[in-house]
Symmetry: C2
Subunit: 337 residues, 2 copies
C-alpha cells in the first residue's frame, strides 16, 4: 500500500514512527506492507516510489525542519498538489495543521485525492467541521474510503466504535469531554483550588496548553469534534456555525469549590443530538464515568438497546493519534486487499 | 438469516425482543432479515421454518413458562440436539444457563452446530471458560464464525472493540471491573458505610444480587470473563483453573473507609496479561476511569500505541446483553451476505 503523507508535524511524524514500529506486525497479521512514497511540508517534498525510510524522514525533519532536505530524494521546488498529481499512490494521509476558517489546504488536498480515486485518512478537523457533507458526498461519488477517527479524541476511538462494534444499536446522542487541555485545567482547579488564570499559565508552561489557548479554552476545538460526531455518527448535516459554544475562561475556583461540596465536578461537555448541538461547562457527578482527570477524553454514546456505552482514552499525543490513523489504514486495507 | 435460539431465559427472550424491535432497521441498514426458526427450552421447542412470531414466543414463555406451548408450532417431545439436526438454519444463538463445571449443555450444542457448518453466537461463559481453545479450533476447522461478545460484560463491548476498532494496536494487557453485582455492593458500602452482609442482603432484595451470590461475590464470574478475554484478545491458551481468585466477602466497611480517606476506592478487579491472571480486590484512585459506581462494568486495554483505552457499559440486563448478540449477528451477516 503506497501512502502519501501531507503535513509532517507531530501527527505526521507519529504516522511515520508507527509504520516503522509495526512493519512486522502489519505484515504478519494483515499481509499489509505500507510504503511511504512521498511526504510534504512547507519546504517541499521527499519522494521515492519504492518507499522512503521512516526513521530518516523523522531525523531529517528534526535536524533541519525540512523534509525537502531528505538525502537524494528531496524536492524543494514541488508543492503538495503537484505531488498528488505526479506520484503514484493508494492512500492519502492528510495531517496538515487544522484551519477552522476555510479548512485549507486540507480541504483541497482531500477533494483532489478523492476525485483521483484515492482513499483518504485524516486527523484534520478543519474541513470536516466546515463541510463534512461535501467531503462525504465526494467520497461516495468517487467510490473511495474516507476515514477520520483521529480527528476526534486522538486515541479515544469513537467513530469506528459506533459504526462497527455497536452495529446492532442505533445511536441516539453523544455526550463527552472532547478536549484534554480544558479537562486538565478544570481537574487541577478542582484538586488545588487554584484560579483559572494561574492554572492555565502552569498548563502552558508544561506544554499541555498552547501559547494561544483560544480554540481549546473557548470550546472551539470541542465544537469541531461535536460537528464531526453529529455528521458521522448521527447523520446530522450540521457545520461549526450550528454549535452553541461557551468555554471555560469564566469558571471561578469558587464555583468549582461549591460544586465539589455537593459531590459534583465542572467539566467542559460537548453534546450532539437531534435536539441539541452544544459545548458548555456542565456539572457531572463524582463516581460517574465523566469524573475523569488529567488530559483524558471521554465520550458516552446513548444507544437504543445497550443503554449508555462510554469510551475513555488519551485525547492527544503524536503516537497515540497516529495509532488511530493506522487503525483507519488497516481497515481500508481490509476492504481493498 | 435463519436463527435457532437454544435457551429462552432473560437473554434468549431479549434476543427475540431486539430482533422484533429492529426488523426495519436491520433490513434498511444491512439488508438483513433475521428469522427465528426454532427456540428450545427445557419444555421442548417451538419450530416454524418460515419464522416464529417473536412477541408470541415471549408471551407464551411468560404465560406458561414453556415454549413448547407455542400455538400450533409447539413440540414438547423434542430436545435441543434433535432440533439442531432436523431444522434448517444458518446461525445458532446459544443462551442456555452457564455451567462452570462441565460447560454443558452449551458446549455440546456449540460443537455440534460448528461441526454441521453453522455460525454460532453465544453469551454462555461456561464452555468458553473451560475449553476456549477447543471451541476456537473447532470453529476454525469447520470454517464457521464464532462470536461471544455478550459473554463478557453484557453491553460493554470489549472483544470486538479490541479486534476491530483498535486494529492498528497490539493489546498488552486487560484490567477491569467485570462484575456488576460486586461493583454495586462495594459502591454502596463506600457511599453508606454499611457492612458487607447488610449490603449484600439489600442487593438481593433489589434483585441485583442472586439468591445464591457465590459466583459473583467470590469472583468466579469475573474469573470466567478474564479467561475469555485472555484467550480471545491476548491469545493466551488458559482456562478457569489458571486464574488466582479472591472475592469480596472479606472486605470490611472499615477498610473501605480507610481507603476513602486517602482518595481511594476498593474494587474487584480482574487482570489478564502474559504475567498475571487474577481476580482480586484492589485499590483504585478517585478520578480514574475505574471509580465508577452502580452495576457498571469497565475494562481498560493497555495498548502499545494508544496507551490505555477504556470502555464502560452496563454489565447485564436482558435487552442490553441481547444487543451485543445482535451486533455479533450483524457482523456475521456482513461476512456471509
Amino acid at each position: 500500500m503506497k501512502i502519501i503523507i501531507l503535513g509532517f508535524g507531530a501527527v505526521g511524524q507519529g504516522v511515520a514512527r508507527v509504520i516503522s514500529m509495526k512493519k512486522d506486525y502489519l505484515k504478519n497479521k494483515y499481509e499489509l506492507n505500507p510504503q511511504i512514497v512521498a511526504v510534504c511540508d512547507r519546504s517541499g517534498a521527499a519522494i521515492c516510489e519504492t518507499g522512503l525510510d521512516e526513521e530518516l524522514l523523522i531525523q531529517t525533519k528534526n535536524d533541519t525542519g525540512k523534509v525537502a532536505l531528505y538525502p537524494d530524494y528531496g524536492h524543494p521546488d514541488i508543492d503538495s498538489l503537484q505531488v498528488l498529481d505526479e506520484v503514484e499512490y493508494d492512500c492519502l494521509v492528510e495531517v496538515t495543521p487544522t484551519d477552522i476558517d476555510d479548512g485549507e489546504p486540507a480541504r483541497s488536498h482531500i477533494m483532489k485525492s478523492m476525485e483521483d480515486g484515492k482513499d483518504v485518512v485524516t486527523s484534520n478537523k478543519g474541513p470536516l467541521a466546515l463541510s463534512f457533507q461535501d467531503l462525504a458526498d465526494c467520497a461516495r461519488m468517487n467510490g473511495v474510503e474516507f476515514k477520520f477517527e483521529a480527528s476526534v479524541g486522538g486515541a479515544m476511538p469513537i467513530i469506528n466504535f459506533a459504526h462497527e462494534t455497536l452495529a446492532g444499536c442505533e445511536i441516539e446522542s453523544i455526550y463527552g469531554i472532547l478536549n484534554g487541555t480544558t479537562n486538565y485545567i478544570l481537574s487541577r482547579m478542582a484538586n488545588e483550588g487554584s484560579s483559572y488564570e494561574q492554572t492555565l499559565k502552569e498548563a502552558q508552561e508544561m506544554g499541555i496548553a498552547e501559547t494561544n489557548p483560544y480554540q481549546d479554552v473557548e470550546g472551539i476545538d470541542a465544537a469541531c469534534k461535536i460537528v464531526i460526531l453529529a455528521n458521522s455518527v448521527l447523520n446530522l448535516p450540521v457545520t461549526l456555525k450550528d454549535v452553541e459554544v461557551e468555554g471555560i475562561s469564566k469558571i471561578t475556583s469558587e464555583s468549582i469549590a461549591l460544586a465539589k461540596k455537593e459531590g459534583l465536578l465542572i467539566k467542559l461537555i460537548g453534546e450532539a443530538s437531534p435536539d441539541a448541538l452544544e459545548v458548555s461547562p456542565r456539572l457531572v457527578r463524582l463516581g460517574s464515568p465523566f469524573a475523569v482527570e488529567g488530559t483524558l477524553n471521554v465520550a458516552t454514546l446513548k444507544t437504543d438497546l445497550a443503554d449508555d456505552v462510554t469510551v475513555v482514552g488519551k485525547g492527544a499525543g503524536s503516537v497515540e493519534t497516529a495509532s488511530a490513523i493506522l487503525s483507519d489504514i488497516v481497515s481500508i486495507w481490509k476492504i481493498r486487499k
